[in-house]
């Protein structure tokens, strides 16, 4: 439980794990993608060099963010795109609303953008009478189910096809019991086509923004960003300020890494470049900070801004695979989410850096080489120092450190512990001991190694 009474990662994960069949299948699907990613990565001899190049380009970007952003802004304006700056999520939402209101639009179609999820744009606009439809299929499914995405690349990976059939039956009038993915996709496509044809405002996210040219690239597998944008009268792009890359030639590095890391594809089906408005079209770019410059100021954590949102760290993370993305109670889940979230609200997300075994697999798959597991460790120290760890834990740790700091108290405690294990196992083997819920306790030997060594050292040396 978190201090405010809401469930923390451990409790939400426990709920998810109750349905073991679902967990097995969730774990299996993501592991399958991880294997596809491995195959794709191993097909590129220079894979590790590519990762290093990407990491260095991003280091350059976050060290010179200011200059690149100004260059990008100037080029956007030259290309006829209106530029807005948003300091916070609230400000971002207000800007989107004011653009739509000026045109008198009450409907918008949106392609995938985790940033607008982070800003809770849909909810904000709904309160002001504006209807937004998410056009990415997975996101659309999450939207009609009133749930946030559970994965940044595969938003409804935690749902079974039968559950999706049920949702479509309820919301799109498909036959009850229909769960064939092809048939369901066809129905969704028809429905979304109608949306694309009639909505005059479209919003997209941004995968890469090229400072040198003032263009931006949006990657989708469904082509939904293009479908929305091409027919729109007003096109809005929302991007976090860290999405900048210096030059067009750097795109090759990132596009080769992104799809392979995300799904094992050589490239995303659509990498759409946007540069200038069509005749009669208005284009807006909103550059959003929302905590990013604060993270930039935290030396230990600034590298987290290199993230290109491929989701590979989630697919490889055994904790994520077993606990489901929604257990992270944050827009960006998994390992990367756990190092981004405490920056936004340390108290609310104090549990997330602890939702890891620090196995380190995430850092190894990361195409931009973010040292995710080291940052998880560092956040733990930070969170404890700021006083956001539970009190009982702090007391336990103080006692432990006292015991372990002195050989005498340590030997005594060890003896007591082993005596309890041997003679009254029930004192430990009960429900109050979380170890014992799913595991047995070790037997406990009659003597410790140090006791044995005392007796035997003479004939040993």
């Amino acid at each position: 439980m978190k201090p405010n009474g809401t469930k923390d990662h451990a409790a939400l994960a426990e709920d998810f794990i109750k349905d073991e069949e679902r967990v097995n299948w969730h774990d299996g699907s993501l592991w399958w993608i991880r294997q596809k990613r491995d195959k794709a990565a191993k097909n590129i001899p220079e894979w590790e060099e590519l990762r290093e190049a990407a990491s260095q380009i991003k280091s350059n970007v976050i060290s010179n963010l200011h200059e690149y952003l100004l260059q990008f802004e100037a080029n956007l304006q030259k290309n006829g795109i209106t530029v807005h700056w948003a300091d916070s999520a609230q400000e971002h939402n207000e800007i989107v609303y004011s653009i739509l209101k000026a045109k008198g639009f009450t409907e918008m179609v949106k392609s995938k953008s985790m940033l607008t999820e982070e800003c809770q744009l849909n909810e904000y606009l709904a309160e002001r009478g504006i209807d937004v439809i998410n056009s990415d299929l997975g996101e659309y499914i999450q939207q009609i189910d009133n749930e946030p995405p559970s994965h940044i690349v595969l938003p409804c990976i935690h749902k079974r096809k039968e559950e999706i059939g049920e949702l479509f039956h309820e919301h799109l009038g498909t036959e009850k019991g229909l769960s064939d993915p092809t048939l369901l996709t066809r129905v969704a496509r028809k429905h979304l086509r109608n949306i694309f044809m009639t909505r005059r405002a479209a919003l997209t996210g941004v995968n890469f923004a090229v400072a040198e040219t003032g263009e931006y690239v949006v990657c989708t597998n469904e082509g939904n960003a293009d479908m929305g944008a091409h027919l729109s009268e007003v096109q809005i792009a929302s991007m976090g300020i860290e999405k900048i890359i210096p030059q067009k030639k750097h795109l090759g590095v990132f596009l080769r890494l992104l799809a392979r890391s995300a799904t094992g594809q050589p490239i995303t089906i659509y990498s759409s470049h946007f540069k200038k408005p069509r005749k009669g079209q208005e284009m807006h770019m909103i550059l959003v900070d929302a905590g990013r410059s604060r993270q930039l100021g935290r030396a230990d954590f600034r590298d987290s801004l290199k993230c290109i949102k491929c989701g590979a760290c989630m697919n490889t993370c055994p904790v994520y695979r077993k606990s489901g993305g929604l257990s992270y109670h944050n827009t960006i889940s998994g390992p990367i989410g756990a190092i981004l979230a405490p920056n936004l609200d340390m108290k609310r997300h104090a549990d997330l850096p602890f939702a890891s075994t620090l196995c380190g697999s995430c850092s190894n798959v990361c195409p931009v080489k973010i040292n995710i597991h080291d940052q998880l460790y560092k956040w733990r120290q930070e969170i404890v120092k700021e006083g956001y760890a539970a009190n009982t834990k702090a007391l336990g740790m103080k006692a432990m450190s006292w015991t372990l700091s002195s050989p005498g108290s340590y030997t005594a405690a060890g003896k007591a512990g082993r005596w309890v294990l041997k003679n009254i196992p029930i004192a430990i083997n009960n429900k109050l001991n979380p170890w014992y819920k799913g595991r047995d306790m070790p037997d406990g030997p009659k003597e410790s190694f140090s006791e044995w060594y005392e007796k035997n050292k003479d004939d040993k040396s």
């Binding site: 904790v319 077993k322 740790m397 512990g417 190694f449």
Partner: protein, 245 residues
């Protein structure tokens, strides 16, 4: 060359056989080993829980016990990694750096320093290796499946020298078992589920024993195997390398 034997707290208290095997094995290989009796713990349980600031006394004690040796060897990859990454001495950081640079996990000490090429050991069983994450990704005891790089495995290299031992291959060769230090308590449900899946991979592939350079992972998996009433047993790699049965 004198080696200081570092037996981490939980190994000392719960798995003395592994510590004894480590000592005997090193002695068989003609290493001069000393066990400083005033040692306790590397401080990792506190540090991984976010209380690194409470570990200075453990660090000081560690330095006091081990600074004088040529090498420090321990049968626990996780504790070795902790010392390598996080042991500090604000008063004399130079000393801490030197201690950090000479601490070795047993397997890497055997392969990299002693360069062992032959062992007089026999263990007639089917064995699965649990690549503990700290050993694998922290100390690089084997190649990590995520990287595009040439494969190798120091534990497998040593186990191949053991007579009549058969290594089983796993579907997920380097998946985490879910122990994770205090994670195993704080995230009990995830930890147990991860452990169950991990041991099942070994069971499915016919392992009679699961071995590892890390006893903490083995303790967690032992608890799960025991609860399942499985016949599969866990054994520290030192016990296999020292075995002549």
């Amino acid at each position: 060359m004198t080696v200081g034997l570092f037996i981490p707290c939980y190994v000392n208290q719960l798995y003395p056989q592994a510590a004894i095997a480590t000592l005997e094995l090193l002695q068989k290989l003609n290493v001069d080993v000393v066990y400083p009796s005033k040692q306790t713990c590397c401080g990792q349980p506190m540090a991984n829980s976010g209380f690194e600031h409470l570990t200075q006394k453990c660090n000081d004690l560690f330095i006091e016990n081990f600074a004088s040796f040529d090498y420090i060897v321990a049968p626990s990859a996780s504790c070795v990694l902790h010392v390598k990454d996080h042991l500090h001495a604000p008063e004399n950081e130079q000393l801490a750096v030197s201690v950090r640079s000479k601490v070795y996990e047993l397997v890497e000490f055997l392969t990299d320093i002693l360069k062992v090429e032959k062992l007089n050991a026999r263990f007639p069983h089917k064995v699965g290796i649990h690549q503990s994450c700290h050993g694998l990704r922290g100390l690089h005891l084997a190649q990590m499946s995520e990287l595009n790089a040439a494969p190798f495995s120091k534990p497998a290299h040593l186990l191949h020298m053991v007579q009549d031992l058969e290594l089983v291959s796993l579907e997920r060769p380097d998946e985490c078992c879910g122990f994770g230090g205090t994670f195993c308590i704080a995230e009990e449900a995830v930890s147990v589920k991860m452990g169950k899946d991990r041991v099942n991979d070994h069971i499915k592939n016919g392992a009679e024993y699961i071995t590892s350079p890390d006893l903490s992972c083995l303790m967690h998996m032992e608890g799960i195997l025991h609860r399942k009433r499985s016949k599969v047993k866990v054994v520290h790699i030192a016990q296999i390398l020292n075995s002549t049965r």
